[in-house]
Symmetry: D2
Subunit: 302 residues, 4 copies
């Protein structure tokens, strides 16, 4: 197994950004990272969708990255640096590289969605991959990108680039199709971007996952991966099914706000999302609490 | 394992309807069935999307079903009887039952898509399931149904109905989510409706698949299933990947017309689809031929 | 102005199909037609979406058409005869022609949506237009057709066909774009398929509309048209705005079921839609009643 | 007519941002503004979608605004300041206010599209409107906003806010529906965000338009408006139809890149868009040139 595949195998948490009033709560972030780094998580995604990256100013993003640099421990860190322009993506990726992070994860540009065909996306990713020293991960998430998807054919072409080493796929279709077209010898790793298809994707060839649920129940997420690696498939499927059920009440129902509310319940510091996102209402929190209990996770009693 | 799960496990071919001029070519259909029934396929779907059911008159549908009744051998047969009205769905399902077929498969009504919410769909399926003697399969295929999907919650509710015994899921999202919510003891079987996620779905709890590719390379499709059942996962994944690649050039690129063209190439009788569907152009046929050869399947030389 | 433009100018009602128990209520249909034919409506659309055409068997469609033939008075009648196959569309159009109806209105085929590109649709419409004696209207309604739209370029090409004489456009984008590309001298009429853009479309070059609201308040709909023709634009816009507001509570909120409920309130015979469509619940009926009163229409008191 | 309606009536150009190498070309922007301010345009939209706002850094946006402040002449200027977070939107709107611009135009937040329902959007717009001194325009453009739309009901509610004075609507559905629900006495102006429905929208109650084509042929765009105001409807419709045809070859085919290419052809300074957007290829430019000639506009000969 090549070096990047090794580094990218397992479970990553797309770490949330806590807020205190109208500022990022860097202490709370540090607290969460010190807890999460004690788990078997492979690493963290900083400044992802769950980190509310598009609601952070450039300055705030730097402050957040400094906390990651300080508190990451021995974890692998990928940083979301995708912007609408090639130029700004490169500049932000340079910063991530200079700060010593391991990978940049680049969501498809999508504001001018109609123009973002395979050729435009290919050119975009190749330009960035050539300009930056840090290895690049594609991030395919049409639900956050106005429906823009990287065509499977383009993924396969980009996989051949020496500085493009993987993809985080959160598309509903899952990675089945392009996994079949990838050369298994290629240094290109596929990470499932959602718990609903994480376990099944491992069987199809994915090496791991970036799971919002790993902010809440990291050990259960990594256990699915470990059971898979040990060939204990029945237990893996069962545990995965429990996490899928749990997730419906968290990110499935409420997005980032749900992840943060669940973190509060298990003793991490989630807090409110930044407006216009709204916190989970009281009855939603009760449902999350109930779902955690049902699936066997300890929650703080009030 | 209960009776229906046993009957529904494995691979079904959604059998195409050949045409001769502007009539269904019943001889060609019989020829195909005599070949397909000699394979390890579990059974057939008659009058499905690949059977161009919506392009057949009521009378033609009956003629097609008579061929199935005669030529099915010992295969399990499910019949597509879903119509826009509850009433007509029930009537067509009665006919299927009287002709001795095993299951009816009911695509979601969708012409009035905006009104087809979970409550309307639940009522529809329950009404039909109560009115007919033959067991009912849900068919969730938003790509054929104006985007209408059965909500996961509704699927779980319907799974509890004694005469609703399974679902064919062709949605892009795959069955991961509702598989996790289903009671494994329930008499409710999940069939994957596409090769792209067939193998991964088996690991998530599906019992089989309804695969258009099973019209073309039935033995390879059933081998994926057999390898899975024997726990030979590496070989299963590899074979599955080859079939996914192959499928891009067939149904992926051309829909039913591609399936029919590929059947012609391997010695079955596909022919032209009914207009306004058009046959695959010459260069597309060359690509299908090449893909069959690349993946190791024998094609007729011209 | 050529002959067809004259015949197609003004307002058409896409007449609903009443049911009594599980049968079409032909008496109620006749009753409605005798009332509607006394208005200034230009004509009727039989077997359209509001007529729940896809929920009617072939036999029932014939019975409905016979009522139209008998009760249409001097109104122009267009018949929805579009099916998934070119062949069946032609056969049903022949029947409409033989029964003496004026036009056939052909919704785009859409079950195999991915294959229904401009070329396929062009071929479909040309084949039908050449095969039938009755003049053809295109019907562009992506919301009923799995998202399939006739590309503007294809509409312009088809407009040149001598037996294709118009289009009913119910797409959200409205007819603005292709109206600009049509030759005004061409015998091709554009009808707006919704009250929301009916009045504005007249200014852009449409000759009329097919309005579900014309089942409920036909005189108000034709008055918008008459005021437009007389150049009384302020009053036309105001009346149109009132009808748009009203429509939100009827078809906007409930589809066909809303139209039928509103008909019951004003003394016509709507009744229940056919299942799986459900009737408007009591509180929805109260809102429709209130909206009718607010916009100045008489309702029956209970 | 109240003050804002007066200021917002007519045609606005959503001014493009030229680039020189990888920097904004402020001289070219100034050149374009000096030309455009000599026309009958009502004003400019700075930092809109056509200004490639999402591809500009915060610093670059300020540089662009300074050029507008200097070169706007007596034109009304609205500034696109909508960001994903309420907080950043307010901050950027404060800057626009301090620089003396007339309005801010706020695209719907949309990164967390699934959470952006009517309640979230209402809260977002009200928060901003209360926090800033400059009057607020809603900007409804699902094609740039991951499908997010402001529900008509929410628009009507927001129209009542004293500091929300209008909407730019670029949705395909057009403003017909909510125009009907708006109180005409309200200080709330509707601007059509596309040439395809600009003229028809004037008849439905819009007071003007923000038209990318106004970067290219401003006088023709304002003439449509003037002819409408004078009641010369036949000539207005004809001219509008010509502009709709022209636009297919410009923004319709190529987005911003097409607008910039057309500007080059008529003697303004468009240049290349910022990557990953690509310039119009040679054959596309030839088609734009031909379309300009066909519709009677002078182009520079090379």
């Amino acid at each position: 197994m090549n070096h990047n595949k090794e580094k990218l195998s397992g479970v990553f948490a797309p770490v949330v950004t806590p807020f205190e009033g109208d500022q990022p709560d860097l202490d709370a972030l540090a607290f969460n990272l010190t807890k999460l780094r004690q788990t078997d998580l492979t690493g963290f995604l900083a400044l992802g969708s769950n980190g509310e990256v598009k609601s952070l100013t450039d300055e705030e993003r730097l402050l957040v990255l400094e906390v990651f640099a300080r508190e990451k421990g021995d974890k692998v860190v990928m940083v979301g640096t995708g912007c609408e322009s090639t130029k700004e993506t490169i500049e932000k990726s340079h910063v991530a590289a200079q700060m010593g992070f391991d990978y940049v994860s680049l969501l498809t540009p999508h504001y001018h969605a109609k123009q973002m065909d395979g050729a435009a996306l290919r050119r975009y990713y190749e330009r960035v991959a050539e300009a930056v020293s840090v290895p690049v991960l594609l991030y395919n998430a049409p639900q956050f990108a106005g429906g823009v998807q990287i065509p499977p054919r383009t993924i396969v072409e980009l996989a051949a680039h020496p500085n493009i080493v993987g993809i985080k796929d959160s598309s509903a279709t899952g990675p089945g199709r392009f996994l079949a077209e990838l050369d298994p010898e290629e240094d290109f790793s596929v990470l499932a971007g959602g718990i609903n298809f994480f376990y099944a994707s491992l069987h199809a060839g994915a090496v791991g996952g970036v799971l919002s649920l790993a902010n809440v129940v990291p050990e259960a997420c990594t256990e699915v991966y470990d059971l898979f690696m040990k060939g204990m498939y029945d237990r893996a499927r069962e545990l995965s099914a429990g996490l899928i059920r749990l997730n419906q009440f968290i990110a499935g129902a409420w997005g980032v706000a749900g992840v943060k509310a669940a973190m509060d319940l298990i003793g991490l510091r989630g807090g409110r999302p930044r407006e216009p996102l709204m916190p989970v209402p009281t009855e939603g929190i009760a449902q999350i609490r109930q779902a955690l209990v049902t699936e066997g996770f300890p929650v703080f009693s009030l």
